[in-house]
Amino acid sequence: MRQFDQELKDLRDGILAMAGLAEQMIDLTIQAMMERSRTKADEVMALDRNLDEWELKLDRMCVDLLALRAPAAGDLRLIASSLKIVPEIERIGDHCCNIARRATYVHPPILSTGSLERLGQETRGMVRMAVDAFIGSDAGLARTVIKADDSVDALYGHIYRELLRLMMADPLTIERASHLILVIKNWERIADQATNIAEEVLFILEGRSAKHTYLHEDSVE
């Protein structure tokens, strides 16, 4: 294998490791919320430091590759998109911390259904698929992630309205509901981050931006 190919493989492997860490944080966050576990919440926040370290390391790798290898075509798209994917993963970690630090403030439960857990699981599934699409160079899977964001948005809206209803019906729920509104907003943002990663995967694979498609539907490339 050429040295440059090895360096590109190291970059992909690094992103995979970083994303694996983010998925681990998501799992722990879901558990911390469901089990009202301070210990697991602390674990999430401890892992965030590792994620930040990965961000710095992978940023440096990308800049070095751009400076030293003058990449073109698919190599260039991989590195340019990696520079965008890495901060998305880092933000996922930040959102997990935001959720986890509220784990002990949202009990006893005020939401009657398992909708909160479902939001976490659906978001987790999107992150997993986005990472799989990146690693497996799977454009179809990336498009599935983008479509799945609608479902998460709908679920977020549903829970949001439920929480407003609860607060109006019983002022004693306001504190917990306020925390929960921030929790679901963070889950919804993680789903957005997964969507952004999927859009970068499509750019890497197909060479055209999948973002803001309404802007270039009428334009001629």
């Binding site: 003058a70 073109a72 075509a73 498009r143 479509k147 948005d153 209803r165 498609t213 309404y214």
Partner: protein
């Protein structure tokens, strides 16, 4: 009571999935029958047009059915591995290959409306319209002034004032005037490599060509001299059409509007440079510009 969601209702997401561009992205890596050509090239005003060009050195065919258009006031780079035919094609654009024995050319090359290979074409007049700058700078063993004035002199121009104006204009055009204006009578051989190459460009400009053909013009220059020539190329395209052969991928990316990739005498792909270097249509192009060729 149904509580309204205070947020604006999000618009449904319309996924824009363009149809696969079969003409630009062949499924297989097999060389296509026809080269990939970006539509933008085909719709620009054309200065040079190559049609079904075949070239033979004796019995050996060096170019195969090359079809290519070069837009007016643009820079086109020819790239490809050694022996791919890019310099051979460049030399076809002002019939420099006529100087080589046993060369046979089929097909057409149009410079504007002029068919370069039509019987009776005035080759000297043609080379005035399409000047050539070579890999190694080749100043004549004469003064700086006489080097630039040479082309005009052999056309019969003897008026001193006219020659002085042309030399000044050409040296300014080549970005060399300020460096040499006080020593025009000095030997051109005393200039640095980068200055000599810009002098050769000035010599080409002096006869007011329409097209400038450059065969690896920076391959013997240091990075600073290279940068000056590249800046010059970008300035010159306002007035001229430029075709440049280069082995330097980054140079092709920096200076050219369009890039053409050749392999084994065949044009594989041509298109806008930014597209060729970010998302080429053909796997062979991608392999070449990313260094994975062969």
């Amino acid at each position: 009571m149904e509580i309204e969601d205070p947020r604006p209702v999000p618009e449904p997401v319309h996924l824009h999935v363009p149809p696969p561009e079969t003409s630009m992205r062949p499924a297989s890596f097999v060389q296509p029958d026809l080269p990939l050509t970006d539509p933008a090239v085909l719709t620009s005003p054309t200065m040079l047009q190559v049609e079904r060009l075949n070239l033979y050195y004796g019995s050996k065919q060096a170019l195969f059915d090359v079809d290519l258009k070069v837009a007016r006031n643009s820079v086109m780079s020819f790239i490809g591995p050694s022996g791919c035919g890019k310099s051979t094609l460049l030399r076809c654009l002002n019939r420099m290959n006529d100087l080589i024995d046993d060369v046979r050319v089929e097909g057409r090359v149009l410079l504007g409306d002029t068919d370069l290979y039509a019987p009776g074409t005035d080759v000297i007049a043609l080379r005035k319209r399409a000047g050539m700058v070579f890999q190694k700078s080749n100043p004549f063993p004469k003064s700086i002034f006489e080097n630039v004035a040479y082309g005009l002199r052999i056309q019969g121009e003897g008026d001193r004032s006219t020659l002085e104006d042309a030399v000044e204009r050409s040296l300014k055009g080549a970005g060399l005037w300020e460096e040499v204006k006080d020593r025009l009578k000095d030997s051109a051989q005393g200039l640095s490599g980068g200055q000599q190459q810009r002098l050769c460009i000035a010599r080409a400009l002096a006869v007011r060509p329409e097209v400038i053909l450059m065969d690896e013009p920076c391959s013997a220059l240091d990075p600073i001299a290279t940068a000056r020539v590249e800046e010059l190329i970008m300035e010159l395209k306002r007035e001229f059409t430029i075709v440049i052969v280069t082995h330097n991928m980054q140079q092709a990316a920096r200076v050219s509007d369009h890039t053409a990739f050749f392999w084994m005498g065949k044009l594989i792909e041509t298109g806008l440079t930014e597209k060729m270097f970010t998302n080429p249509g053909h796997r062979m192009t991608e392999d070449y510009i990313t260094g994975r060729f062969g």
